[in-house]
Subunit: 231 residues, 2 copies
DNA sequence: CCGTTGAGTGAACATACGTTTACTCAACAT
DNA sequence: ATGTTGAGTAAACGTATGTTCACTCAACGG
């Protein structure tokens, strides 16, 4: 079964972009990337159904992707390699969070609560990626865990830069700022698990979760504000 | 293959504790608990080799326990039930930490650093339990994750009581204290993963890890100390 | 236009899996 | 002493797994 039947034996076949409408068949490379994406998406979908990545089998991933098992090897050596690709993809999603926050600018009033709500929205609209990060960052394959920690570390480093650029907490040393952001990141990712576990249509639990999260961050930044380097 | 060959067809068989030396064969129930423990230990051992719990198969768990697959069903309905037993067992280990800290008393000078070192030691001497908690608390089976979160919550609640009993941070409301302890617990468990991932014989990385952990806690408690309820 | 390339196929394999079944035989209650 | 009980066994089952192979046939490059 070919997933995308070719529209025509060969379209015009002369011009590079022959017709704006009724476009040329997708290039070979594009198709390959598409299948690759289907494999990654298939794995994420299975995890979305409450499965750990390390419990997935190659065959069910290919099944979820709508592809025969042997095709898998055209894209990845084994499941770990697929996992690493997912880490990278999730890392991009993670960095988009910072980009969005930068774009919107940080409000001066009720900064924390608003950031938390942005974050919550981000987690919900990329639930599979956050599910993957939060789920595999602690356990499973050491190689994947390590890759996720590296991605986290990268994220924290970017957050340090952003705070410097915004002139937030200028009294803190870079080292301390780094420690602060590390703490904030782990708190965020922990909250992600809570957000993803929220039962649907439970505004009460939702409010409590957000409140708790905001208060934790408030406590942390309060500590940061009174921090003295040589303690 | 019978794991514990009976010492004698039937020992004295009259007295309840017939001989202090050359003791009576273990009771039926005792043997059963022993096998059950071997199954749980087998699963933990496999996880110690860098495997996620959800990736374990029933057969390899029984293999690691030195028992035939069918025996498994005498003890657990399925692997999830075994997992829940592990959560409970790990919860006990977790509570022992508080008990030990209570027994030693909390030092007044360099309180945080000393507590961190006690914790680090505790994690290292119960590495499989902490590996299990840290590994399954985020991902894998939802039922196990939920059970772990409940255990964590219980732990945090006990920590609140202890702080009240010690008169620490008396100005904080119970709600805030609860939030504080929740934050401390997630920070602790996150640190556990780092501790367990420490390469052996790397005192440099070890010191950095401890330092970072201490500074994070210092920041948190600094924030707690200046917290005002109606902010 | 036509030969090469390589993503996706379908079949086959050896192995591992979860679960059930009838069994043994020591500990137990009587 | 004797019959019951139940933890652990050995074997068998149907199914799922990872990996390999020769294949097809559309996009590609000359």
């Amino acid at each position: 079964m070919t997933r995308l039947q070719p529209r025509r034996p060969t379209a015009k076949s002369r011009s590079e972009d022959p017709m704006p409408i009724a476009p040329t068949a997708p290039s070979r490379e594009a198709r390959k990337q598409l299948t690759r994406g289907q494999l990654m998406a298939g794995a994420l979908d299975l995890m979305g159904a409450g499965r750990g990545f390390s419990s997935l089998s190659l065959r069910e991933v290919t099944r979820a992707a709508g592809v025969v098992p042997a095709s898998f090897y055209r894209h990845f050596r084994d499941l770990d390699e697929l996992g690493l690709a997912l880490v990278e993809q999730s890392g991009v999603t993670l960095r988009h969070l910072l980009r969005d926050v930068r774009r919107d600018g940080v409000p001066l009033t009720d900064m924390l609560r608003k950031s938390v709500l942005i974050y919550k929205q981000h987690v919900e609209s990329h639930r599979l990626h956050f599910l993957f990060i939060a789920g595999e960052r602690g356990g499973g394959s050491p190689v994947i865990r390590t890759a996720i920690r590296a991605e986290e570390s990268h994220f924290a480093a970017e957050m340090v830069q952003d705070m410097r650029a915004l002139g937030l907490l200028p009294a803190l040393s870079s080292e301390t700022l780094r420690m602060l952001c590390g703490l904030v990141v782990t708190t965020m990712i922990n909250a992600a698990t809570d957000i993803l576990d929220l039962p649907p249509k439970a505004p009460r639990a939702e409010r409590e979760l957000v409140d708790n999260f905001v208060r934790q961050l408030r406590l942390i930044f309060l500590g940061a504000a009174v921090w003295r380097e040589r303690l």
